[in-house]
């Protein structure tokens, strides 16, 4: 029953977007209840669909032709339905929270309209049944992030950050588009060669059709296609080297950051790789052709990003920036999972990665909303100016500590009790180890385990600096209202207990591959018997990080002033974010593209093509000719018009005289 109305999952928030945009001013809270009701509706339909298809391992598929052989359609399989539920649920909580958080902003209708569209676009990414619709929705997600990061567009920094987000992700989007071009051409050649028949119910860019055609696609081409798709994912999911936009994206309202980081944007990149995983999984065969296999690249980019971003998280002083680097790093883990677990356990990697994606969504949304609550209370983003907030903000403090535990992956191994992150992240680290055993390459594992230590240090540094010690500012802070704290408590419950769903989750997601490609997910390799130290290590580093931060930032047992100084080149490098903003915006953006290429183009255009050739050489010749004509004619410029008509008339007369006889 619910599945028949699956299109409403997207359409409800779209309708809410239009209504809020035009009627929001006349409604209470800027029309916030419209998107809230709409997204609640999306969540209910998603949940209802899940309950319908879960018992029967069914999928929902609806399709209609669109233009030029392409289609619009809906595909809800296990992969999609878990994402749909998470996105609509987390987005709903963030919307409710925003009623309180945004209550003083005069532009509320625009805010709620845009977040509603943002949610709709992301939901549309998830349930697309073809890669074109996926791409279109993906671009609309990018548009909404642009609008919302630049929500306070009168702030120059917000306008700049919005542009940066759009352009940097656009670099990825172009790669994604190039991948679609290449895929389309290959599919089309397969279809015209009649090696593969497309029924009336199949469309060229449908996932179903694509997956069926995988064995027929040239493996080298398949590698290029998947790497180009991954390029898109790098942009959207803030992976190195296209990560720079995400920390700057905090220029928008904190609720927008929560949406971007948890529900509606950055996960799209991971989802793209998960969605097209059968294609990635089919690529290793090309190793012999001298082309690296796509999963290896996914693993290395992800692993490196996990570590690289965590190092910057250590030194940031802006509470939202710490969390932003944390997101970049955690997305790296998800990519790492797809790459390494993909090589070890095949399609089960999707479940492992997605489980971390969803548990991360809960605790990262929670972290951002807690940060919002703190910022709301103290009026600053700088953790050096906070301190001692726990006494005044018990709910925020407690829920944020829970989220930090989840992020650090704290739990008790062997008896399997722990936070969501304990189950999801430790699984990834274990698979990275298995990958090392299998391939003799422990570099991804090293990335993962070192990043885990740094993660724990930076997140507890944040918590201890904000909530313990003496207050470092005079401002009177207070706990946030119920409309804001209740979503925190709900998310905290998920951050604590969602992990226990891991076995059922993995089982359910494993069916996805089978449903999509008709083959059973490769279940080779019984889980290796790992030494206890390997199982324990992720938790050990998590606890170690907590203790280090406790010692440094709470008990002040170590003097950090030597390390934390601009005299220290390493600290300076990290604080300047490896000079990424300088290299990206200043050197590549302004200096190279604008000052050198575009300006020299302008010079060529004006001085050479136009100035020299047209004006001087051709123009002067014409001018002299004109001087001559002027003697014959009146010399009034406007007579050129009559000359034309006269010219045509003369031609007619000449023609008549010459050929008139016939």
């Amino acid at each position: 029953m619910f599945s028949d109305y699956a299109a409403l999952i997207v359409l409800l928030p779209v309708i809410a977007f239009v209504l809020t945009l035009f009627l929001g001013k006349k409604l209470p809270h800027g029309g916030a209840y419209l998107p809230i009701a709409a997204i609640a509706g999306s969540f209910i339909i998603s949940l209802g669909t899940f309950l319908e298809i879960y018992p029967t391992d069914g999928i929902v598929q609806q399709s209609m032709p669109w233009f030029a052989g392409m289609n619009l359609g809906i595909l809800i399989d296990p992969l999609a339905v878990v994402m749909l539920m998470m996105v609509s649920f987390v987005s709903l909580l963030i919307h409710i929270y925003a009623v309180g958080y945004m209550s003083h902003d005069p532009a509320k209708p625009r805010y709620f309209a845009e977040t509603s569209l943002f949610t709709a676009a992301m939901l549309s990414v998830i349930l697309s049944d073809n890669i074109l619709q996926f791409f279109i929705s993906w671009e609309l997600v990018g548009l909404c992030s642009f609008l919302l990061i630049g929500f306070w567009y009168h702030k120059p920094s917000a306008a700049a950050a919005a542009k940066k987000a759009f352009l940097v992700t656009r670099v990825g989007d172009v790669m994604f588009l190039a991948g679609i071009v290449l895929l389309y051409v290959n599919m089309s050649e397969i279809i015209t060669s009649r090696a593969f028949s497309v029924g009336p119910e199949n469309f060229i860019l449908q996932f179903k059709t694509m997956f069926e055609a995988i064995p027929l696609i040239n493996p080298t081409q398949l590698t290029y296609i998947t790497l180009l798709f991954f390029g898109g994912a790098i942009g959207k999911s803030g992976q190195f080297p296209l990560h720079g936009w995400l920390p700057d994206a905090m220029e928008g309202p904190t609720t927008v950051s929560a949406l971007i980081h948890a529900a509606t944007m950055v996960t799209a990149g991971v989802y793209l790789v998960a969605r097209t995983f059968p294609m990635f999984a089919a690529t290793p065969a090309t190793l012999s052709a001298g082309v690296p296999d796509s999963l290896l690249i996914v693993a290395y980019v992800g692993g490196f990003t996990a570590l690289f971003a965590a190092t910057m998280g250590l030194v940031m002083n802006d509470i939202k920036r710490v969390l932003a680097y944390s997101t970049v790093s955690q997305l790296g883990y998800m990519m790492l999972a797809l790459g390494t677990a993909g090589a070890v356990v095949g399609a089960q990697a999707v479940g492992i990665s997605m489980f971390h994606l969803i548990s991360h969504a809960f605790f990262k949304a929670l972290l951002f909303l807690c940060a919002g609550s703190v910022i709301h209370a103290v009026g600053t983003n700088d953790i050096r100016e906070m301190g001692g907030l726990f006494g005044k903000m018990k709910i925020t403090g407690t829920t944020m500590f829970i989220a930090a535990l989840a992020l650090a992956g704290i739990g008790i191994p062997f008896i399997n009790i722990g936070t969501a992150g304990f189950f999801s992240k430790d699984m990834i680290i274990e698979k990275a180890f298995e990958y090392g055993e299998l391939k003799g390459d422990f570099i991804p594992y090293a990335f993962a385990i070192i990043a885990a230590l740094l993660t724990s240090i930076y997140i507890f540094r944040l918590w201890f600096m904000a909530f313990t010690g003496k207050p470092r500012s005079e401002r009177h802070s207070h706990e946030s209202p119920g409309v804001m704290t209740r979503p925190l408590m709900i998310l905290a419950l998920f951050a604590l207990f969602f992990g226990f769903a891991h076995l059922g989750f993995y089982d359910y997601l494993n069916k996805n591959f089978e449903l999509m490609t008709g083959e059973k997910a490769a279940l080779e390799g019984e889980s290796l018997q790992m030494s206890p130290i390997i199982v324990l290590l992720p938790v050990i580093v998590g606890v170690l990080g907590l203790l280090i931060s406790y010692a440094i930032y709470h008990r002040r047992m170590l003097d950090m002033s030597k390390l934390v100084s601009t005299q220290n080149p390493l600290y300076k490098l990290l604080l300047n974010r490896y000079y990424e903003p300088k290299i990206g915006a200043d050197i590549i953006g302004v200096k190279l593209t604008h000052d050198v290429v575009a300006q020299s183009g302008e010079f060529v255009d004006r001085k050479i093509i136009d100035g020299l050739v047209i004006d001087n050489i051709i123009g002067n010749t014409l001018f002299k000719l004109g001087e001559f004509v002027r003697k014959l004619q009146t010399g009034v410029v406007q007579n050129y018009a009559s000359v034309t008509i006269l010219g045509i008339g003369l031609l007619i007369i000449i023609l008549r005289i010459k050929f008139g006889g016939t």
Binding site: L140, A160, F166, R170, V181, E602
Partner: protein
């Protein structure tokens, strides 16, 4: 009801004459809106009766004119012309509405706009090469006056440059038309200017050199109009000085005549030319060069309107590229790009016009934060800019997607080059928005006000159309595809591409 096409052309012609004779601005603009609106109604009737599944000429009309020379008034529509006729009839009434507040010599102003409509409708419907050429030239004259009377400080230079440049190109094209004409005459012994007849007889020309010369002369005529790099330098100057209405018509309709020529004239004769392979490469190079060159030049501009002018060059490059790829869907994509760009560029030039009017400047550096006082304009301008940078959900994306995907079959290297331009295209659009519209309000501008309601209304209608055709391109795309398929039959038959 026969003779709908000639009625559609006659009404704005009559309207133009009456408008010239009116004494008040009120009468002039009312008649202009009414007659262009009537013309729109007729084109909608034609559009609704159009059969998208056949590629032959529909609503054909033919009247004898100069029998001794084989000239006759032949009109008709197919999937190449119909969408552009619709576009012209959408853009002109909206331009009149946008320019509702014009005070200077209003009767002439609106009359010239109507004459432009007559000219472009004639070009898009004529099936006699001679008549086609007359309309092609007619279009120049009102535009010359629009620039030279209502233009900016350097209007004389720009108007003359526009006129001479495009006129020279037209004359080169005319020479080619005459060669075709005399050649056909020699073969059959009967003079006939019928367009399809002349194009069909292109293949009987014996000398490959002459064939290529004719081809290049025609191509030159069309590429200057589009305009394609390196024949584009008249365009930025013309736009900078032209009044907004002039710029809108120039970019939305006049440039489309060049693209129309590619589909109507160039593609049918291409397979029969002396060296089709080289000519295809030439077109592809010019297309991609225009895309990239236009993009980087747009990035360098300080004047918002000049930036939009260069963006037109870049977008029209897609038309050349799609046409050169010779794949049915790349050619349909190129046709759709023409239609889509007409709508989008109109919004962009109108935005520039509103800003110029309110803030007194279009220099990006001198603006800043104008969204604060011009929220409606900022909203519509952003929509137009997003459409222009190819945002999915809007018409430009469909066109560029079709062109890029399908051109890859035959011109992979060129597509890869064009893809590089996409990031920079987004770059100059958003950078301009960031500096001119967002950020802190530049207090030096004083207190500025939002665009007038009629201007905002016509921009809003265009934006809605852009979104409509972005979500559902089929109403015009289907007929384009039908004709593109038919056009490329010969290409395949001649083995020009495999």
């Amino acid at each position: 009801m026969a003779a709908l096409i000639s009625l559609m052309i006659a009404i704005p012609l009559l309207g133009a004459i009456i408008t010239f004779l009116t004494r008040t601005r009120e009468q002039a603009r009312s008649i202009a809106l009414l007659t262009s609106g009537l013309s729109l109604v007729i084109s909608l009737i034609l559009f609704s009766r159009f059969d998208s599944s056949i590629s032959t000429i529909q609503f054909g009309e033919s009247y004898p004119w100069i029998a001794s020379l084989g000239v006759s008034l032949k009109f008709g529509l197919d999937g190449i012309g119909m969408p552009l006729v619709l576009l012209s009839n959408i853009v002109i009434p909206l331009t009149v509405l946008f320019a509702w507040g014009e005070t200077k010599q209003a009767n002439q102003f609106y009359g010239l706009i109507l004459l432009e409509l007559v000219g472009v409708l004639g070009v898009f419907t004529s099936l006699d090469f001679f008549v086609f050429y007359i309309f092609w030239e007619i279009v120049l004259i009102p535009m010359y006056f629009l620039i030279s009377i209502w233009g900016g400080p350097r209007k004389d230079y720009s108007a003359i440059k526009f006129f001479i440049y495009t006129h020279v190109a037209s004359l080169v094209m005319l020479l080619a038309i005459f060669s075709l004409y005399f050649n056909a005459w020699q073969v059959s012994g009967v003079p006939n200017f019928d367009m399809f007849y002349l194009l069909k007889n292109y293949s009987v020309i014996e000398s490959p050199l002459l064939k290529d010369a004719i081809f290049l002369a025609l191509l030159f005529g069309f590429l200057v109009k589009m305009p394609a790099v390196p024949f584009h330098t008249w365009l930025p100057d013309a736009h900078v000085e032209a009044p907004t209405a002039g710029s809108v018509i120039l970019a939305a309709l006049l440039l489309k005549m060049g693209g129309y020529g590619l589909f109507r004239v160039i593609l049918p004769i291409l397979p029969f030319s002396g060296s089709p392979g080289k000519l295809i490469s030439l077109m592809a190079i010019i297309g991609v060069l225009s895309i990239l060159y236009g993009t980087f030049l747009a990035l360098a501009q300080r004047d918002l309107k000049k930036m939009v002018a260069y963006s037109s060059i870049s977008h029209m490059g897609y038309v050349t590229l799609g046409a050169a790829a010779l794949i049915p869907l790349s050619v349909s994509g190129a046709m759709f790009q023409q239609f889509s760009h007409g709508l989008i560029t109109a919004v962009l030039f109108m935005s520039c016009g509103v800003i110029q009017h309110s803030a007194g400047t279009r220099i990006i550096h001198d603006l800043g934060g104008i969204a604060k006082h011009m929220p409606k304009l900022a909203f519509l301008m952003l929509a137009g800019f997003l459409a222009s940078l190819g945002l999915p959900g809007m018409s430009g994306f469909i066109a560029e997607f079709l062109i890029l995907v399908n051109s890859y079959f035959t011109l992979p290297t060129f597509v890869i080059l064009a893809l590089f331009g996409i990031v920079f295209t987004a770059g100059y659009h958003l950078w301009a928005m960031q500096r001119a519209v967002f950020g802190t309000y530049n207090e030096k501008l004083g207190h500025i006000h939002d665009g007038a309601d009629y201007g905002i209304a016509s921009m809003a209608i265009l934006v809605l159309l852009i979104i409509f055709f972005g979500l559902n391109p089929n109403p015009v795309l289907t007929m384009m595809t039908t004709n593109a398929n038919q056009l490329l039959n010969f290409v395949v038959l001649r083995g020009v591409i495999t």
